[in-house]
């Protein structure tokens, strides 16, 4: 017995010793050494953005670029006071050691020039500091008053090069600004750059507006006006200012939204005690009913390829998400989690559906795959609702009310970034534009 115990102990000890010796033993000298790295630090990427050379506007451009990149949560612009060079020449390869010393992983250098034809030209280069190589070199021109858009374009190019995802900074957001006391609420349609600049009212607040939605082409938006007599759906061309009423509906219409090609609008209409989804052809005004279920069917949203529509319905007793073919057939439920699911919005790349979810007294913004898999909750608060996607399908804006009125917030689909949108006043129903031309 003792011998057996001893032999077990010896075997175990021997095995330990062998493992120890194996760990210490040198690897074969001639062979390449294989190293596996399967953990990393997912942190904002440190980037140095010195002021571009050129006129005073160069400093403003630098600030916009830095602000854009920082606001994404994926970049950390470094303090200019630590820069080894104040104004590096954009046409000269930088001395990288100095930039390494401040841990800059990327370096953006550039120059701003007023061209002879009156245009503003921005040349810039993005450098990989550690590899000592140029990653990007581009030149943008536009009219001088358009300098902010040039800066956004530069930030988009940098974002794309360093993250592999399309940028979203040269975009706008349309939303409903909310002001006044609860008894005298004023709801106005408002538009601003995604970074909060250039806010402008599109309506005067004389009527209550709801659910503005951009077309995927970016020049038009549709929204709803509620009056005592009923609701009217409008299509507004924001470049020409031309506005057209789609029709006046007795009762209530909800959440009109464009088809991807901009030729149709889907919406839900409460008629005869039943709320169903309808499709309106913009050219002819022809209306077609897509759902007939006695349940409440609302919040329709096309897939980016236009073949399917996501919507929510309480036909199973509880608000859940469904997907159907764009002609109204092949309806299937995709949400099966606990809680109430509403406002599905298809991501521009077609890979995700964002939604609002309520569990108990808490509201969430979440995403799931179009087949219902991979549900991921991104936010939680007293009231989070109405998600809208940035054109890169990575960032989501939504409305959050923590008891002091609704405000705009942003989150990314990884769940790592959550922040207030750059608009401090009351606002709800955001809709993100596509990238501007």
């Amino acid at each position: 017995m003792i011998l057996r115990k001893l032999s077990h102990a010896m075997v175990a000890a021997l095995a330990g010793l062998i493992a120890c010796v194996a760990a210490l033993a040198p690897l074969p000298a001639a062979a390449d050494i294989v190293v596996n790295v399967d953990q990393g630090a997912s942190q904002p990427l440190p980037i140095a953005i010195p002021v571009f050379a050129g006129p005073a506007v160069a400093g403003d451009i630098q600030k916009v670029i830095a602000n854009d990149l920082q606001s994404s949560g994926l970049f950390r612009p470094l303090d200019p006071a630590t820069f080894p060079q104040v104004d590096p020449d954009a046409n000269v390869k930088p001395a990288f050691d100095g930039w390494k010393a401040i841990s800059a992983q990327g370096l953006l250098t550039g120059a701003v020039t007023n061209d002879a034809d009156g245009h503003l030209r921005v040349d810039f280069r993005l450098w990989d500091v550690y590899a000592g190589e140029q990653l990007l070199g581009l030149q943008f021109t536009s009219t001088p008053e358009n300098w902010r858009r040039i800066a956004h374009k530069v930030a988009d190019a940098v974002y794309e090069k360093l993250t592999g995802q399309q940028g979203y900074f040269d975009t706008r957001v349309v939303f409903v600004s909310v002001s006044g006391s609860p008894a005298h609420r004023v709801r106005r349609l408002e538009i601003m750059d995604q970074d909060g600049f250039n806010p402008s009212h599109l309506t005067d607040g004389g009527s209550e507006v709801f659910t503005p939605r951009y077309s995927s082409k970016g020049q038009e938006l549709t929204y709803m006006v509620l009056r005592p007599s009923g609701s009217t759906v409008y299509v507004l061309n924001i470049e020409t200012g031309r506005q057209e009423a789609l029709g006046h509906f007795p009762g209530m219409v909800f959440a009109p939204r464009f088809s991807p090609d901009g030729s149709h609008v889907v919406l839900s209409v409460a008629r005869d005690g039943n709320t169903d989804i309808y499709n309106i052809t913009l050219a002819s005004g022809a209306t077609r009913r897509l759902t007939t279920d006695p349940g409440i069917d609302t919040s329709p949203c096309y897939s980016p390829d236009g073949t399917q529509i996501a919507f929510n319905s309480d036909r199973a007793g509880n608000p859940e998400l469904y997907v159907m073919d764009s002609e109204g057939g092949n309806v299937r439920r995709i949400s099966f989690g606990e809680g109430r699911y509403t406002t599905p919005v298809w991501s521009p790349d077609g890979k995700w559906i964002a939604f609002t979810k309520q569990t108990g007294n808490v509201f969430h913004i979440g995403v799931m795959r179009p087949d219902g898999s991979g549900e991921r909750i991104l936010t939680s608060s007293y009231l989070d609702e109405g998600p809208t996607w940035a054109p890169n399908s990575h960032m989501i804006m939504f409305s959050r009310d923590t008891g002091y009125g609704p405000h705009l917030w942003m989150a990314d689909i990884s769940g790592r970034v959550l922040m207030a949108a750059p608009y401090n006043l009351g606002a709800t129903d955001p809709s993100w534009s596509p990238l501007l031309p």
């Binding site: 040198p26 997912s42 401040i102 030149q139 858009r149 993250t163 592999g164």
Partner: protein, 283 residues
């Protein structure tokens, strides 16, 4: 509209007539070309003129300013080259390079044991209770027990503080002198590799986008601990898939950040697999 100084009956001077004509003309132009009623959303297209020409690197080469930098945050860089990562958890062995660098005679248990017993004086008053049963076993098993041997080894490793060495240090020392290091680094142990892996993990800023990918890069570490030639990314950096291209760039950056590599890694070629799928799933 009347201007101060003009009386109702005054005749039109040529200048006034010209001004009136100019205003009428402007009015006509405005009427003929009405501005859009809502110019708020008007988007002026941005023109991408061209890709920037190649860079002139002469000035950088000719002006080798040391770039001492206002090193406000040199911390990570300064720390990186140090080999602080303690060897991986399993065996708490002493990470002295000697153990690795002396691959000649297999240090059989006997020699290790001898010095342990030979140094009972300073701290070999190990706690009174513990030694007793162990010595018993040792006696019973007739002076050879791997259990006790292992216990002794680990105890001694914990116990004995590193003693000051009188041997030469730095480049004058035989083992570390550059001329003696022609094949230095070839004796890299698995735990060294694990240590390198941990270091790379800390310095790899993984890109957790929608699409996470696995990339492998290869590089050689030279005599001075710096990379010999560029990191071979097998063309991934120029992949048409931006996620792959970015993953390659970030992997290469991590490899560069480690330099200068620890002496034991010098003159070796490495293939490092960066698995963003796993990294992003756990982070």
């Amino acid at each position: 509209m009347r201007t101060a100084g003009h009386r109702p009956g005054d005749r039109l001077t040529p200048a006034l007539a010209g001004a009136v004509a100019l205003h009428l003309g402007l009015l006509a132009i405005l009427l003929l070309h009405p501005t859009p009623p809502l110019a708020i959303g008007a988007a002026v297209p941005i023109t991408i003129v061209s890709h920037a020409p190649t860079t002139d690197s002469r000035r950088a080469i000719q002006a080798p300013e040391a770039q001492a930098a206002q090193t406000e945050t040199p911390v990570p860089q300064a720390k990186a080259p140090e080999p602080p990562p303690p060897p991986p958890p399993p065996q708490p062995r002493n990470p002295q390079p000697k153990a690795v660098a002396a691959p000649e005679p297999k240090p059989t248990p006997a020699p290790t044991k001898t010095p342990l017993k030979a140094t009972p004086t300073p701290e070999a008053k190990p706690t009174p209770a513990q030694p007793t049963p162990k010595t018993k076993t040792a006696q019973k098993s007739d002076n050879f027990s791997l259990d006790s041997l292992q216990a002794d080894v680990s105890r001694s490793l914990k116990r004995s503080p590193p003693r000051p060495s009188f041997a030469a240090r730095g480049p004058t020392r035989v083992e570390t002198a550059p001329e003696a290091r022609v094949d230095a680094g070839q004796g890299v142990s698995q735990s060294d590799v694990a240590g390198l892996s941990q270091l790379l993990q800390r310095l790899w800023n993984v890109n957790c986008g929608d699409e996470t990918v696995v990339v492998t890069v290869s590089f050689k570490v030279g005599d001075d601990g710096h990379l010999v030639g560029p990191v071979d990314d097998h063309g991934l950096r120029h992949s048409s898939n931006p996620a792959i291209a970015v993953a390659a760039v970030r992997a290469i950056d991590a490899v560069h950040k480690v330099a200068p590599y620890d002496p034991k890694f010098r003159n070796n070629t490495f293939n490092v697999k960066f698995d963003a799928q796993k990294a992003c799933a756990t982070s």
